[in-house]
């Protein structure tokens, strides 16, 4: 068990934020999700005001913050246990009381609230906290008492979001990153839902000390998720089939250590295919040319796509960036590593390349897998996978072939009010999975 203690220091499992770390901020219970990097000067805009994120540095992930008004204006301050507990009691989820009130006498005429905007401003000037304002609003609402307990709770929550917004400090990991992109910008990750991503990782047997071949045209989400599962061992080979590598900016959202970043490498298919005989001149030449090209490409991606981050907040100044250096992932694979892959084959393959022809991609990559290697191919359309599956069968390249479509439904669980959530994602993508077999005729 002592071995288990020592690894607690590794960056990946850090549970407390530090200066320069990447965080996911959940504002008002999922209303807004923002990726940010915690620095002395980074800020978060809520409503019309910018709030410094400095109070978040050094706090455990999972901490909750609330906008608080004080002598020197409003700021984010950490909500401690006692405040949270009182809030839970307010939610009153424990005993389902028989409800006698209903909405027959509620009329929507905008006259229920007797406090005006000016009154609220005045309260603020006097230094009232958000909670105080909410209490005042409730006290001055002519209809609050007539509402059912459920709608009283809804009312309180709505006012809390407006007058005392909360920020939850979340850890950016594959789960939260995938969910955030899926909610906000699903097209950037090829509409891949979190359950689909989790299936890809399982079906491709992603584990420590393996060599995973990845074609990631979903912004780096897949590469990051695979690297997270390998924890700095083995290799994630981010393969590109065209002239330049695909962007993988999402990898930088994870708080990867140097160790993990070094295990994320890029290779082009042509480098992997380059002829083995006459290695001295032929290959040396080849490699240097592509290396230059890809370096350039990577730099341009890096600068160009910087704003692709949800809402990049107040980009850190130059000296700040150097102070909290972010390890860089995605170096070119060394020739030595490539030679090892050529000799042993990759232990598995994951493809998420909506823009490439599925069957041709798979056909080109299969020879680079070791025998009995599992693979998982993602697509948001069924037909390319059906064609690919059929061809794999005809060519006797794989067994255990299956196309699966995951289905995920969330439930609201509350006393006397349990039911499936009103909104659900109807579609999270298709997966073709299988295991490569040894086929002496085809290889």
């Amino acid at each position: 068990m002592s071995g288990n203690q020592s690894r607690a220091d590794s960056v990946q499992s850090r549970r407390v934020t530090w200066e320069g770390c990447s965080v996911l901020l959940d504002i008002n219970d999922g209303d807004r999700l923002v990726f940010s990097r915690l620095t002395e000067n980074s800020t978060l805009k809520i409503g019309k005001k910018n709030y410094s994120l400095r109070p978040l540095i050094g706090c455990p992930f999972g901490s909750l913050f609330q906008v608080e008004y004080g002598a020197e204006g409003s700021k984010l301050s950490r909500l401690l246990e006692s405040a949270e507990v009182s809030n839970i009691q307010e939610n009153g989820d424990y005993q389902p009381v028989e409800e006698h009130r209903d909405n027959r006498e509620l009329v929507d005429n905008n006259k229920a609230q007797s406090l005006s905007g000016e009154d609220i401003e005045e309260l603020r000037r006097q230094g009232a906290t958000g909670d105080k304002i909410i209490e005042a609003l409730i006290a001055n609402s002519a209809t609050f008492e007539k509402k059912t307990a459920f709608s009283q709770e809804k009312y309180r929550l709505k006012k809390q979001k407006k007058y005392a917004p909360r920020v939850l400090l979340r850890r950016p990991v594959a789960r939260s990153i995938c969910e955030t992109y899926f909610t906000k910008y699903p097209a950037r990750i090829g509409f891949m839902r979190v359950d689909t991503l989790s299936l890809l990782l399982s079906m491709a047997n992603v584990a420590a000390n393996s060599d995973i071949l990845v074609v990631d045209m979903v912004g780096g989400l897949l590469t990051g998720a695979v690297a997270e599962r390998m924890g700095g061992s083995g290799y994630v080979c981010n393969m590109y089939l065209e002239s330049s590598p695909y962007p993988m900016d999402i990898v930088r959202m994870f708080n990867f250590s140097d160790e993990i970043c070094k295990r994320i490498v890029r290779t082009s298919l042509s480098d992997l295919c380059s002829v083995q005989n006459d290695p001295s001149e032929q290959m040396g030449h080849d490699v240097s040319v592509t290396a230059n090209a890809s370096d350039e490409q990577m730099c341009s991606h890096e600068t160009l796509t910087e704003p692709a981050v949800m809402e990049e907040i107040a980009p850190p100044s130059q000296n700040e960036i150097s102070k909290c250096k972010i390890p860089k992932a995605g170096d070119k694979a060394s020739q030595e590593t490539i030679d090892l892959w050529k000799a042993n084959g990759f232990s598995s393959l994951i493809v998420a390349a909506p823009e490439l022809d599925t069957w041709n991609t798979v056909k080109d990559l299969m020879p680079h897998l070791s025998h009995s290697a599992p693979f998982a191919i993602y697509h948001q359309y069924l037909q390319p996978l059906a064609t690919c599956m059929h061809n794999l069968q005809i060519e006797k390249m794989a067994v255990g072939l299956q196309i699966s479509e995951p289905w995920l439904r969330e439930y609201q669980v509350l006393p006397s009010r349990t039911h499936p959530c009103m909104q659900m994602s109807a579609f999270g993508g298709y997966i073709l999975s299988g295991v490569k077999i040894c086929n002496p005729e085809s290889t």
Partner: protein
């Protein structure tokens, strides 16, 4: 099954040796786990297979019986193991397993608690996720079941990542020596709400918990118990729909507009169509959902331990 020693990388090009665990694949729904043993035989409806014929062949090979029947010999993985293990209890399948590991945020180095062990289907995947330096402590109150699980973990080569304990977790909670050490926890118990207090003691702040229950009433009570010390309580149901693919030969179905392909034509594509000319003219590949599917496994309730200051 797992490459725990960095020096011995997982490479399936390794040849099958005496004593290896192989998955004998007949069909997608007929597989069996076999330990290769020189001098032993494997028998099925296709005939008798000599293990001695298997030794020295690469994983993924096709091997023949005395009657020229054949099977494939696959390298074991947690996914294949789930399909071949002996069911001592109801087990978890891939959709739930993969979602649980992702949602519990389990990565290499994590310390994970599980109860009950059952047939060890999830445990094997948990072991893969925490390898090479993490650990899974799994508990079952059934002594014989725990012993069988231990044997299975030896057989699949994950035993160094897993400790199986015999303990009534529902009655006695988790052992005190694991207090505050767990990154994640999985409960598959008839009355999980009885364990929530102990679970809160075991987990690190912001640590994750998942409770699997087939019945909604169990979920209801668990969620009520969780509200005390946990936050971000969410309940899901995850299922898989599988598809059947077949080629339908039909002359009338040809036509250039019939292909729903999204890709713009490119060089590769054209060469492919050239080579498959006959097929593309006279047949269509069609997919439809399989008629039978698992309609329900269980509800997965996730929660995070609150961070106290």
């Amino acid at each position: 099954m797992l490459a725990l020693d960095t020096s011995k990388k997982l490479s399936f090009n390794k040849l099958i040796a005496d004593g290896d665990l192989v998955i004998v694949y007949e069909r997608h729904d007929t597989m069996k786990a076999v330990n290769v043993c020189e001098g032993s035989v494997f028998q099925n409806r296709f005939g008798v297979f000599k293990h001695s014929d298997w030794i020295g062949k690469p994983f993924g090979s096709k091997v023949y019986s005395n009657k020229s029947g054949y099977v494939y010999l696959l390298a074991p993985s947690p996914e294949l193991w789930t399909l071949v293990l002996s069911h001592r209890t109801q087990i978890l399948y891939i959709a739930d397993i993969s979602f649980v590991i992702m949602y519990l945020e389990i990565v290499p180095g994590c310390l994970v608690l599980e109860s009950g062990t059952g047939s060890g289907s999830l445990t094997t995947s948990l072991a893969r996720a925490v390898a090479p330096i993490g650990h899974v402590y799994t508990f079952d109150f059934h002594e014989q079941r725990a012993a069988s699980a231990r044997e299975d973990f030896e057989r699949t080569g994950v035993s160094s990542m897993v400790t199986v304990g015999v303990r009534d977790i529902q009655g006695n909670g988790f052992p005190d020596e694991l207090c505050g050490m767990a990154d994640a926890m999985f409960l598959d118990l008839p009355q999980p709400w009885l364990v929530i207090a102990s679970a809160a003691k075991m987990l690190k702040p912001d640590g994750t918990l998942c409770s699997f229950s087939p019945c909604i009433e169990q979920v209801q009570r668990s969620c009520e118990a969780l509200r005390m010390n946990f936050t971000d309580i969410r309940t899901f149901e995850v299922l898989l729909r599988t598809y059947e693919v077949r080629e339908v030969k039909n002359d009338s179905m040809q036509g250039h507009g019939g292909s729903p392909s999204q890709q713009p034509p490119c060089k590769r594509r054209q060469t492919n169509e050239g080579s498959n000319k006959q097929e593309s003219i006279s047949s269509t590949i069609m997919a439809r959902p399989s008629a039978e599917a698992r309609g329900h496994t269980g509800y997965l309730t996730f929660a995070r331990l609150k961070c106290s200051a």
